[in-house]
Symmetry: C2
Subunit: 518 residues, 2 copies
């Protein structure tokens, strides 16, 4: 803590090595998780192929599914933070509301997540990778006895590194950390995150090869005269995104309403449903890699795609609603891709434009749907740009993302991870950290819209339980006296009582304009 104040120059350099270190471990854990899940998925399809014609074995498989459901349910009741995506949990911890037990989350998420994929549940590995990365980083910080502030930095870095490894997309990992977790640019933070994401991406590429998770090749950018198609697509994606958010929460409500069944037994339901899906529509099982390969390079009938889309959608909502450990990130990209494929096929048929534009609609829709749901446009755009390996259709991406963002926003649909975090917090009744005398040093960037700009420190209604320590202006570090004037671009360093971190952080973020009062 002292070194941050006394030695600002030394701080960022050591953070690069912390980032590197976190990147190695987060990368490894993501890779292990990805290998486990890949093999679980392969095993699942082997089992389906084997049992398909053998009724006795089908019955036996259902029993295995129920047992797996019970194990996962027990794991989730043992460590509730391992339930679901993992991204809201990490956000909650960054905001200071939650305090996850890193080794319990690691154990139960890895075992539970693998069992869920083996059971065929429609859940992604990307949210869990973010959480695993953050938890590994927390573990490292705890073991090496880092300060609270560094621990948080390392967790942000670990989260991005987890995503980078999961997608083979380092820049998307960096941007996700900044846009969804950190919410500002802090230069020490930045080099830490970049080094972490690059390291974990490097590890992941060494294991899985250089090609991105989705390997789409675009032939040409959509000509400008056809942009009306994108405007319609943006509106469609915004509407679907808002509907998705609504249904996802309804899925949780459905399970929440089963008051008579203890929570840990509820997870058995998606396992049983998955058993039925195994023998009826196996394409929609697991993360969705099977489903994406169906539309890469092939042409499906619109009716087939529509069936897969609707089935995948409700199956995902059902699986996720149960609280099983697994994310929505990848399934929602699959849904976006199918929306784009359906829309693209129809538009191509109607307008007669060349059919190689279909892949444009598919990739653009993934970014647009992601933006409507998560409301992180830069991460969405960069993710798709990295996956297609080209910037050429940035303009079409941006048009669709802005429109879908606006439509979802106008429909007053909340960003999904915020809604999910709200529910986790409500369930946990704002569980406070147990240690009593922790103080955390946090930095807040004063934005252009800040009410603190041009004010004196003493004139700002700082919340209780915090002490404004310094203002960092460029390389200068100014001791915050009452009479010190705050400028836009300053970073306000505040010492915050850990028990009130969430509340205090939010108040200061409001003051600094990092978030806007709604």
């Amino acid at each position: 803590m002292k070194s941050l104040l006394e030695n600002p120059h030394g701080f960022s350099v050591s953070l690069v090595f912390d980032g590197l270190f976190v990147g190695i471990f987060a990368g490894c854990i993501s890779v292990i998780y990805r290998l486990l899940l890949n093999n679980a998925e392969k095993l699942l399809f082997t089992i389906i192929a084997f049992t398909k014609t053998r009724p006795f074995w089908i019955a036996f498989w259902f029993i295995v599914l129920i047992v797996m459901g019970l194990i996962v349910g027990w794991l989730m009741s043992w460590e509730g933070m391992a339930s679901g995506s993992g991204i809201p949990q990490v956000q909650g911890e960054m905001k200071g509301y939650l305090n996850q037990n890193w080794h319990r989350v690691l154990c139960s998420k890895i075992i539970g997540g693998t069992l869920c994929i083996l059971g065929g549940l429609s859940l992604g590995r990307e949210g869990p990778s973010v959480q695993l990365g953050a938890m590994v980083a927390k573990g490292i910080a705890k073991i090496t006895k880092k300060s609270q502030t560094k621990e948080r930095y390392m967790m942000t870095c670990g989260a991005g590194a987890g995503l980078a490894a999961a997608f083979n997309a380092p820049l998307a990992g960096v941007m996700f950390s900044l846009e969804e977790l950190q919410k500002n640019f802090n230069s020490s933070m930045l080099v830490c995150i970049i080094s972490g994401c690059v390291t974990s991406d490097f590890i992941s590429k060494n294991v899985f090869g250089l090609s991105p998770v989705f390997d789409f090749h675009l032939k040409a950018a959509l000509p400008l005269v056809h942009y009306w198609m994108l405007i319609l697509l943006g509106i469609l994606l915004g509407l679907c995104g808002a509907f998705y958010n609504f249904i996802m929460l309804k899925g949780q409500d459905l399970f929440g309403a089963m008051k008579k069944i203890p929570a840990k037994y509820r997870i058995v339901f998606p396992f049983v449903v998955s058993g039925i899906v195994c023998y009826t529509l196996p394409s929609i099982l697991a993360g969705g890699h099977a489903m994406i390969s169906l539309i890469t390079g092939h042409t499906l009938l619109v009716s087939t795609m529509l069936l897969l889309l609707v089935a995948k959608f409700f199956f995902s909502a059902f699986c996720f609603g149960s609280g099983a450990p697994g994310g929505i990130f990848f399934p929602l990209l699959i849904l976006g891709a199918y929306l784009g494929a359906i829309y693209g096929t129809l538009v191509i048929q109607a307008s007669g434009i060349p059919s190689y534009y279909l892949v444009n609609f598919i990739t653009i829709s993934m970014a647009g749907f992601f933006t409507a749901i998560v409301r992180a446009p830069i991460t969405g755009i960069l993710l798709i740009a990295e996956m297609t390996g080209t910037f050429e259709h940035f303009l079409s991406l941006a048009v669709v993302c802005i429109i879908s963002y606006l439509v979802a926003h106008l429909l007053k649909s909340e960003p999904i991870y915020e809604s999910l975090l709200g529910r986790i917090l409500a369930k946990n009744g704002f569980k406070e950290s147990e240690d009593a005398d922790h103080k955390v040093l946090r930095g807040f960037a004063v934005g252009t819209g800040s009410i603190a700009a041009k004010q004196l420190v003493k004139d700002i209604p700082w919340p209780e339980h915090c002490l404004i320590v310094t203002l960092n202006r460029g390389d200068e570090e100014i001791i915050a006296r009452g009479s010190t004037e705050i400028h836009v671009g300053d970073t306000i360093i505040a010492l915050i009582d850990d028990n009130y971190l969430g509340m205090v952080t939010e108040s200061i973020q409001l003051i600094c304009g990092e978030i806007i009062p709604e």
Copy 2:
């Protein structure tokens, strides 16, 4: 300001249209500026070709140069904010230190900048485009009578839009706005910036075509076994970046020391020097597009490149130091490219790796050198990724950028735009904004000893020049009507006239019990 409080959902939607609007105008002004500069540069080389063998005309050209120098000097003394790059001026205004006169800056920057390029001065168009974009946005905000908050948002957007148009690189424009100006992620802001940058990029691409400013084609990513070359390159770029920053400021000091010559005549010197350069080493004249085409697809001798590098470096520092209107952004990328070309040629000769990797070293060095100097790694990485049109060598970019960042940081070299802003502010003595009718939003916590506790809003003797807008109670925001009761723990949000801020603040603080009467 009202709409921010009352209609948070409407806020971001209208900002998209503001962004669009700003993007159109900022894009147009950038395009006009770029056309003027392109033609000025062409004219310059025509003049050189014509006069080269005609001594009388050479003498005449020197007279023209001196006259142009005088005109530019007069313009800069008329509007000092048009001098130099423009980026520090915009940063200064965003931070609230400066208040530029938008129409005077527009006039003098466009005329002055064009004359400088016609005169052959080594200055870039990118910094000026950022400033022109921001000033156009400010003009629109003033004419349409937007609130202060919106004006700032629009200026940030305009600045990014200017850069996007100057480089045909929309994502770099977005990231520059976020990383260098805004310093945080604010979702309303984000969609505004994206729509502005995309619009201006669209306009610019319609005029100048789709290809980026640097059109480098990479054959393959550098294999991992050769990464030690990148580590050395990163260290080299960090050292050179710190040296660049040092020399740039020394260039300003050199001109600052000419106490006997009035500032407006000093700009004549670089024009005269440029006249000599015209007939000795014309490649280093103007922005540097001539110089970059020398190494695109060609192989130069190391000694030739070294000569061009050193000459361009000192000529740039000399031109920029004079305070002539023009930026350092493009020239510094050229220098980075040459550093990479020299290093790459030597390394390829020494190690025997295929020569097509030269272009990798060139592009990576541009990003690394930019990062060492400006300390905005994400902007640097994205700029180069957009220009090369590929993400494939992100890993090598990130390695070099992190190392060069750290080396420059450890050498305690300040980011250049911050140093420049510091100098502008010192020169202007923190000139306060001149507008009289600023309104500021402030919050006051109602304490237990407050005379306002349990009173109705209308019963409190509020001071003049302020308006009580809302009471924030927990997460609730209550519109302050006369009949609203005030509770202890509420935060009172008041809109206060900037001119009476101190007095009004103190009165409300007294009422709320934040300070105790003596």
